[in-house]
């Protein structure tokens, strides 16, 4: 009796493996979104929900095409990428540099790090009113907000990466009489690289998040503005277009860093699941 049950179970498992193996591996990640979209289209297509609550995927697609055709979408996207990119670049670069200095030198660590750690615990959204008072709602205060958010992940992880350099390898570099410069470029930075790249990834995520916040605090262009504006006119499908754009661009930028990780961190020997 029990033997039969076991047999049935293994048969089921084999069948489960079968249908998955018929789909190319690269498409496995698409299965869940496609199924959800199909159900979504079925439910909304029957008119069970109001268009302003949940438009059909087809309506979203149409609005996507219309916005794309008029060029409006790319205008918004361009200005958003510019803001996020500038903020990320400024904050990330500064984070990398200060992380390096404070990781390499005890003096910088002792004088600078405590203040930065205190600043880090301040919720970023609470400084927005101050930024608006000081710099208005123009580009400068937006880029500054994003830059401030992008700074900390890179700073913290660069510092951590440098300080987790294996002391045993430092001993080797002392025996081989590495110059100070060689110690930094040939030992400490390669050793810290996994952490630095992690910091960059987190920082990209934060930049993207703060972009929306910045664009909702008052502007006349950008994907965040497009969403706000569409909400005011109850054009729910445009809100969805904006959200999808955020998802796609966010995913693309993350994949870019992961690509760098696989190329630069090929040497790593870790659990790969």
């Amino acid at each position: 009796m029990s033997g039969q049950v076991v047999e049935k179970k293994t048969a089921n498992r084999a069948a489960g493996g079968d249908w998955l193996s018929r789909i190319p591996k690269s498409l496995h990640g698409w299965i869940v979104p496609l199924v959800i979209t199909a159900i979504w289209q079925a439910v909304t297509g029957m008119g069970l929900l109001s268009e302003t609550i949940l438009p059909t995927p087809l309506a979203i697609l149409k609005s996507f095409a219309a916005l794309g055709a008029s060029g409006e979408l790319f205008e918004h996207l361009g200005i958003s990428i510019y803001r996020a990119g500038m903020g990320f670049f400024l904050g990330g670069t500064l984070g990398l540099l200060l992380g390096l200095f404070s990781g390499l030198g005890k003096v910088v660590e002792k004088t600078l790090d405590p203040s930065l750690q205190m600043l880090r615990t301040v919720p970023l959204l609470s400084v927005i009113p101050l930024f608006i008072l000081w710099f208005g709602i123009g580009e400068f205060s937006k880029v500054l907000l994003i830059g401030l958010g992008a700074f900390f992940p890179v700073y913290v992880n660069t510092f951590l990466g440098i300080r987790s350099t294996d002391a045993k390898l430092c001993e080797v570099s002392r025996i081989f009489q590495y110059t100070k410069l060689q110690q930094v470029t040939k030992l400490i930075i390669p050793a810290a690289l996994p952490n630095i790249l992690l910091g960059v990834r987190l920082s990209l995520g934060v930049s993207w998040l703060l972009l929306v916040v910045a664009e909702m605090m008052g502007t006349s262009a950008g994907i965040g503005y497009m969403i706000q504006d569409a909400r005011a006119y109850s054009e729910t499908e445009i809100v969805f277009v904006g959200i999808i754009i955020f998802a796609v661009v966010g995913k693309l930028s993350d994949s870019a860093v992961r690509l760098l990780e696989t190329r630069w961190l090929r040497w790593r020997d870790t659990y790969k699941g």
């Binding site: 045993k168 390898l169 001993e171 080797v172 570099s173 002392r174 025996i175 081989f176 009489q177 590495y178 110059t179 060689q182 040939k186 030992l187 390669p190 050793a191 690289l193 961190l265 090929r266 040497w267 790593r268 020997d269």
Partner: protein
Amino acid sequence: MAAEMLVVQELNKTFATPTGDVIALNRIGLQVKQGEFITIIGPSGCGKSTLLKIVAGLDTRYEGTVLLNGKPIDGPSIEKGFIFQEPRLFPWLTVEKNIAANLSLRKPEVRKRVDELIELVRLKGFEQSYPRELSGGMAQRVAIARALLRSPDILLLDEPFGALDAFTRSHMQEVLLDIWQKNRTTMLFVTHDLDEAVFLGERVVIMNPRPGHIRHILPINLPYPRKRSGNAFQELRHRVLSEFEKVEGPDIDEGAGI
């Protein structure tokens, strides 16, 4: 008689611990000639690794005289190659880049030497491998090649084969003897393995703990390659062992007898 390349005289080393000072090395005296192969054996805590670190220049807080080629040792340098118990390779560099380390493979003379050394440590075909792809013995051979590239006057080895299995270990011992006979690099080899000490060394320095001191220096007048099963070998092995039995229960590695 060849000049003494390494002279250690009246060397004392004390560690300060919360419970008081501990004497790690007590009046160590040792003279090593150019091209000699010295093995140092002793139970854990006898200060043999401490002695090696002092000669390497990794530990400069000691009393007494330590001269290499007539000059006091004041820090680590490429003249004193060091092989640790672990290979300590840079995980982000390939085998050949690990050997070159801070030297550029684009320089023809470095390239040539690296290729020769890869041949010498029998790693042909693994130039482009990363350390994670290597076995323990292979990784340790990379570390040896890396040290040899700097043409050190003396090679200091701190239980380099201790973490390897018995078969790999005996193979590595032969590789090392082969290198020594070709290059005539002076070797100072720390081990806790009785067979290894007698198999490799021209002289075996026997150290005992509490406080760490040299009990006896035993010349091994056997021609290379030595046969572990030979009567003369076994007799010398017993003589080394008896030096420990005089003191207390030896925690010397008697196994791995291949």
